[in-house]
Symmetry: C2
Subunit: 390 residues, 2 copies
């Protein structure tokens, strides 16, 4: 097998984009596309035809995809709510799953996913593209080389102004709006937590032991509606549940802290707020800088502005081997190449029969942050972090 035949379930903006990406990859063949909206399947099928000349099967019910001849895997790109139910069905049928990111809706769902994957041994991978971000991988590599010493504190965030995405969710048939109306939690933890969990050897020699989340009031969406007349007037005073900023602190069994920030309804530039601090060095995404004990002294500590963006220099010496090869071969795909890398890893693991670098226990732990944070905020207390490796 040199390429995998896949069905793509869910064709919103992200699913359509995935169709486009996979059409340009040698190790994928799209056999089927599926969405409850027929206009979306039509558009996706036309795109595949245009880019590859091939005709794909179209479904408005995902069960149809499961029986497509030659299917090697399904890729789930639906709204957050249906990731688990569809994945569980596929796993039980022995169909490998690549699942887009998002938070879970209950801890029980996470345990069920682990249980079913272990029982069926069907391959399952969370397609966390940010584990393949160039700077995330730079930091992973520097940590592995011992340059940061022992890692003590990590921070991450999904700091992305999504006010229009949320407020025009109904018009765009996006699931986010309902989530912001009715939930208050760290609703999108894996982009930032995934790379951090890998750096901290979570589910290997380390694990998450407790979590506490805190939420601000919800005011960003209302204020945006006040100022923008094209927004549904109901939103001026709508009592959104989702706090504008959610802070989550996770304690690790080895004594580290992970601090996450969800920050999606206030104005700001995009940042994953990535900070990794060890006993001998650190990286900070805001400012894009590396600090190593061996390279700087206390005389450099102040007026640090001139060292902003020095991480670019460190790429020359410590680029991750995966990225070194990628740059050599020619960077492809969207989001700076990390989508290509995660899709490629999924296909190559299946083709070569290798285990996925992101296990089902990893996926469970990363996605469980969402229901745990909801519980912590609601009950105003620290909650125990379940051990999905037990």
């Amino acid at each position: 097998m040199k390429k995998i035949g896949v069905g793509i379930i869910g064709l919103g903006a992200r699913g359509y984009y995935m169709v486009e990406q996979l059409c340009g990859m040698d190790n994928y063949e799209i056999l089927a596309v599926c969405d409850t909206y027929e206009d979306r399947t039509d558009a996706a099928a036309q795109l595949v035809k245009k880019l590859t000349g091939k005709t794909v099967m179209c479904f408005t019910d995902h069960h149809g995809v499961f029986s497509v001849p030659g299917l090697d895997a399904v890729l789930i790109v639906t709204g957050w709510e249906s990731h688990f139910p569809i994945a569980l069905e596929a796993l039980k049928l022995g169909i490998p799953v690549g699942c887009e990111v998002g938070g879970a809706y209950s801890v029980e769902d996470c345990f069920e996913l682990v249980k079913v994957q272990r029982e069926t041994k069907t391959p399952f991978m969370l397609l966390e593209n940010c584990c393949y971000g160039r700077y995330e991988m730079l930091v992973m590599n520097m940590v592995k080389l011992g340059l940061f010493g022992e890692v003590i504190s990590c921070e991450g965030g999904y700091r992305h102004d999504l006010r229009t995405e949320v407020l025009f969710g109904a018009e765009n048939r996006h699931y986010r709006l309902e989530n912001y109306k009715h939930r208050n939690c760290e609703n999108y933890p894996t982009h930032d937590l995934g790379p951090i969990a890998q750096i901290l050897d979570i589910n290997r020699s380390n694990r998450f032991v407790s979590l506490h989340s805190f939420a601000t009031k919800a005011a960003g969406l209302n204020d945006y509606a006040v100022l923008h007349e094209d927004v549904n007037r109901d939103f001026v005073n709508y009592p959104f549940s989702q706090g504008d900023v959610v802070k989550t602190v996770i304690k690790c069994s080895q004594g580290q802290l992970v601090t996450l920030t969800l920050d999606t309804t206030l104005p700001r530039p995009y940042s994953r707020g990535f900070v990794v601090q060890g006993t001998r060095g650190m990286y900070c995404e805001d400012g894009n800088y590396v600090y190593l004990d061996t390279d700087f002294t206390v005389y450099d500590h102040f007026d640090w502005i001139k060292h902003y963006n020095n991480a670019e220099e460190y790429l020359k010496k410590y680029e991750h081997p995966v990225w070194e090869k990628f740059l050599h071969d020619g960077v492809r795909g969207g989001h700076g190449g990390m989508d290509y890398l995660v899709y490629n890893e999924f296909a190559e693991c299946l083709i070569e029969g290798r285990p996925f670098p992101i296990t089902v226990e990893d996926a469970a732990a990363w996605m469980a942050v969402t229901p745990l944070s909801a519980q912590s905020i609601k009950e105003d207390r620290t909650v125990e972090f379940p051990d999905f490796c037990k």
Copy 2:
């Protein structure tokens, strides 16, 4: 009265520096200096002689300072432990107090300070220089002008690599070492919390209602000792109490969160990690950038690196009036001028009989973070934040 006669109590590095600063100011006359170490009082007296030609009185017991003829105020620059006892004595004697920053050792001390100040009506001001930092004041001004909309989330930190200061504390007669050996808390909250509290109208229309702190393991000092043979070998395995990074989340009655980071025993450049986010704009110290809804669109969100340090541009339009005047008159003094501004404010308020901008209730609330964080970490729970305005 055009200048105030002061006694300076505590002549470590910070006190000696204060002596130097005040010698260059028109509204101060140093009458006395005091430290338990005679070599320090000698050095300070010589410095005053050199800079002003005047002879000051020297004391090794602070009680002597209280009876110096013509004394208008005492400035307390001792180790953290003795701030409160000395301040209380002075207030009870009716001697105005300017007190250097640091955390408290108990919530009761904070209540006692408020009680004694109210009973005696003796002026007391916490000399929080960072409330006069240029960028802190830029942000305060922009918030006041409504440019950030409603402020929802603030972050701050004391992120300062103090490994050598701590480890050579015994040699340098510095109080920090003992604190790091025996306490685990947010030990230095006011530099970052002060400006944030002012922005959030704490103790005015808003107040802190609860606090939760989390600490990492302590590994930074040990690892530094491992690599540096000049450090006392006992520190290689010394079980320091103070975690390398302490995260503190404070909830406000108006629904905002304040997140503080103490980060003083890992390698890094200096940062107060100042972030202020409102419904219409924000500022972030790491990257030194401003984002306003009116100035940027979603097309600017990614590849934000080119906007790093754009806060410099905003200074042209929104410089705080205090800084505008300061720049016009000529910036003076250390730490970029903010020390001059806070010392000047203290003197001018006393001379003009104006109330201090930082009240005793403010000082109590900001400094109380230290014992509250110690309790929260020890008991692994959220603690109620006392109301010092009651």
